[in-house]
């Protein structure tokens, strides 16, 4: 009843082209931002911020990256984990080589590296499609993993093979390393993710995003309308990998503190893919939903029994988790390929006409 576009007439195209044309949506976004930037840092405890919010945001960013490629451009990839790794290792190397440069700048720059690598591994997409493209991205995944192990220069010849995050600060506040507070790290991650979501939404709604979707929906017609497949696909690979790279760098620098190649393996690729599928292909909101669902559900399942005084061992929890995620993925692939985001918009659609659906 309160969610209406009635009465909100748009008198010019500019308003109609706004990202959130409906007033209530704009208010809701404002409320979410206040909660995220103000309420959570004040009221959230360290566990909630460190183990739930930070990884949720970082995975959301990686999911946006994959969604740009898969959901918006129609190119399926299993190399997400490795592209995140490129960002992480690039960021690590740059902190060693340029210790004085602001860490946020380095995180963004590391995205440029993975964008380049992503574009190179995107080249085969010009010739091959579907299943065969998946196989080449998988090859990229394994090749890059191999590099992360076999090129000791990448981890500064560290005996353990791990990259360890040095301490860095901005404006006197420590934001990376062991002594950085969860809240400080959370606020950095949140800011980056919010800005990058806004940018993704801008690109998607504009000329370039449209060319991606044209390629996705009907590549022949796209080419006959003047889209160059090379430009469209490679730009999608590059932008997608940029997002994944920044997510990977943030994962190590603002969450894990140290990482080995396992953090960027094919399981990671699958995890991000599941987030995208569950949240909704071709939806930015869906990336948030999918990441929240896949990251938070296991934690809920772990915590819930103890709240009710039940004692379930960790292995059982893990099995339940696997089964639920697996079941949901199958359910969504069959029933609703556009994921949670579509369910959400259907609910809003119903709300819009409620209580008189006709």
């Amino acid at each position: 009843m309160f969610y209406r576009e009635a009465g909100q007439y748009k008198t010019n195209y500019k308003d109609d082209l706004a990202t959130f044309p409906i007033l209530q949506d704009r208010i809701a976004i404002g409320i979410y931002l206040v909660i995220a930037f103000v309420a959570i840092p004040i009221f959230g405890n360290d566990f909630f911020i460190n183990s739930m919010m930070i990884p949720f945001l970082i995975f959301t960013l990686a999911a946006i990256g994959l969604n740009i490629l898969t959901g918006y451009t129609g190119q399926l990839s299993l190399g997400t984990g490795a592209f995140m790794g490129v960002g992480a290792y690039a960021c690590y190397k740059m902190t060693t080589i340029f210790p004085d440069i602001n860490i946020i700048i380095l995180v963004v720059l590391s995205g440029v590296f993975s964008a380049g690598i992503g574009a190179i591994f995107g080249l085969p997409s010009l010739r091959i499609k579907g299943f065969y493209l998946v196989v080449t991205t998988l090859a990229a995944q394994f090749f890059l993993e191999w590099c992360f192990i076999r090129i000791p220069w990448l981890y500064n010849y560290n005996i353990s093979g791990a990259i360890e995050v040095p301490q860095r600060e901005i404006m006197g506040v420590i934001i990376t390393g062991a002594s950085a507070s969860p809240t400080a790290r959370y606020l950095v991650v949140l800011s980056v993710v919010v800005v990058m979501t806004w940018i993704a939404s801008n690109i998607i709604q504009g000329r370039i995003g449209r060319s991606w979707m044209m390629i996705r929906d009907m590549d022949i017609a796209a080419e006959l309308m003047g889209v160059r497949p090379l430009q469209a696909k490679l730009s999608a690979f590059a932008v997608s990998s940029f997002y994944c790279g920044v997510a990977g760098a943030m994962m190590v620098f603002f969450w894990l503190g140290a990482a080995e190649v396992e953090s960027f393996d094919v399981n990671q690729s699958f995890r991000i893919l599941f987030m995208v599928v569950l949240g909704g292909l071709g939806s930015l909101v869906g990336c948030y939903m999918g990441a929240a669902f896949i990251w938070m559900l296991p934690i809920m399942i772990t915590i819930a029994p103890s709240i009710f005084g039940l004692d379930i061992n960790a292995a059982t929890v893990e099995h339940i988790n696997f089964m639920m995620i697996g079941g949901l993925i199958i359910f969504f692939l069959i029933m609703e390929p556009h994921g949670l985001a579509r369910l959400w918009s259907l609910a809003k659609q119903k709300l819009r006409v409620w209580p008189f659906p006709y």
Partner: protein
Amino acid sequence: MNAHVNQNSVSAIDNIAKGDVLLQVDNISLSFGGVKAITDISFDIRKGEIRAIIGPNGAGKTSMLNVINGFYHPQEGTISFMGQQRTKMRPYVAASQGISRTFQNVALFSGMSTLDNIMAGRCLKMHKSFFWQIFRHGPALDEEIEHRKVVEDIIEFLEIEHIRKDPVGALPYGLQKRVELARALAAEPILLLLDEPMAGMNLEEKEDMSRFIIEVNEQFGTTIALIEHDMGVVMDLADRVVVLDYGKKIADGKPAEVQADQNVIDAYLGVAH
């Protein structure tokens, strides 16, 4: 730079008088492995006319359009568009020269709205760089608004205001065909190729579509190549007709001449060759 390209093509088209040859195909042959789709076909399309291409199923009509817009590369023959002979070209180059088309089997961008599909037709006219796209304010938004206005004019022209925001996948077939025409028009083509724009439509829809085609031709001066099976429509719309059968050209001329041609009658009645 792009403005220059536009100016060039505009002046190039202005140099061709109405009724002069716009597109010339000479001795085109196209085969797929052993299958000869087109054998030694020559004809021309003149500026400002509606040129029908007709023939029985499998005659090679669609293949001919695919050759014209660079999707198929013929083994033999030459094509020249606006006086320029061209060799193998990619479809997006043909598009940038002003050739636009619709498809026999609707080929809309099914995951996008009507509006976005038509905006997609303008992608060659939009140039604001990646940098501006990131912000979606200033130049990029201005550009978007400017093109949105053109798209709204087309939407109004084709009377599809009511489905503006609908996803095209869910539209009835007749409307999908109309959106496809809108998308092709959005590119402001010099030469518009229409592959069976009225197939599967009822009488009323056909009448609407005929009216739109005539208006496009008369109001915008767009040259049109039209593939159509409905002879009544062809007789009404076309200035000249080329008839294909089994990949060969069997007749070429005014609708009435072609209709009276013995070869054409035989082809349509399926007389043995």
